[in-house]
């Protein structure tokens, strides 16, 4: 890397390299999920799910039910040389490891997709 160019901001972002690094991080702890969007299941995808570190217990209480809830990040890829872009949108749903997830927000970065989600059980 040209450190001087990088520090000055002239260094172009190599999206495919970033995508490959993101894919490697996903492969370190992959999770295969099937999103449901508007009631229809999408193709299975490999992502990485990481919970936020939080103290204490969070619960959602309604008039006739109560669930534990946890915020998480879901990591995917985009613009990878060989792998398909992660297809994830706000309000997508999926189940994984006994919990039910709802995607709340999706951020797009060079080579990577990071979504915020809430898990309930």
């Amino acid at each position: 890397m040209n450190l001087g160019a990088w520090l000055s901001g002239r260094d172009a972002v190599d999206t495919s390299v970033r995508a490959e690094r993101a894919w490697a991080r996903i492969q370190d702890r992959p999770a295969v999920i099937t999103l449901v969007r508007d009631g229809a299941a999408r193709a299975a995808q490999t992502v990485r799910i990481e919970p936020y570190r939080q103290r204490g217990i969070q619960e959602a209480t309604g008039g006739a039910g109560m669930s534990a809830r946890q915020s998480l990040s879901i990591f995917g890829i985009r613009d990878h040389a060989t792998e398909t872009d992660t297809d994830i949108e706000r309000d997508d749903r999926f189940a994984y490891d006994g919990k039910f997830y709802r995607v709340a927000h999706v951020n797009l970065f060079p080579g990577e997709v990071q979504a915020l989600a809430e898990a309930q059980s």
Binding site: G39, A60, T61, A64, M66, R93, Q120, S121
Partner: protein
């Protein structure tokens, strides 16, 4: 026969119109798991994710009713709330609430543990979302029960 709680559940679960609308059934909150039916015990569609339209019945507190005049009968003003859920939109919920009102408003239910149980519509909520069920659409209604125990 059965007690009032079971009789009410049987009445609602046995209604063909409600059953058609509420494919997830009519559930008794008092018999659900410790979390009273959180995300882990909500009825789901075949995809295992989408919440089925369903209702939950919960009895609420009772207060004495005109004890000075009717002390011999010990009447109580009891209440029951019915919560309706569907994954999104309120069309099924609205239809189910209309049907419930037809079934219960100004009606008497016969049960083992009551001499008299008269139901009257009392309250209907606005459109809500159930944060405990992944933001599912939810509304609830309340009926008062003029109750004389057997």
């Amino acid at each position: 026969m059965a007690d009032l709680r079971a009789t009410l559940l049987t009445t609602l679960s046995g209604d063909a119109t409600l059953t058609t609308l509420l494919t997830g059934g009519v559930l008794d909150v008092s018999t659900m798991p410790q979390d009273q039916g959180g995300a882990g015990s909500a009825p789901r569609e075949s995809d295992g994710i989408t919440i089925q339209p369903h209702a939950r019945v919960r009895f609420i507190s009772a207060t004495p009713l005109s004890p000075a005049r009717l002390w011999r009968l010990s009447p109580k003003l009891h209440g029951v709330e019915v919560y309706f859920y569907q994954p999104r939109g309120y069309d099924i919920i609205d239809a189910a609430m209309r049907r419930l009102e037809t079934l219960l408003h100004d009606t008497y239910l016969d049960a083992d543990d009551t001499r008299l149980a008269h139901f009257e519509f009392a309250f209907e909520s606005t459109d809500l979302t159930a944060e405990e069920l992944e933001g599912a659409a939810m509304r609830f209604c309340r009926f008062t029960i003029t109750l004389v125990r057997a």
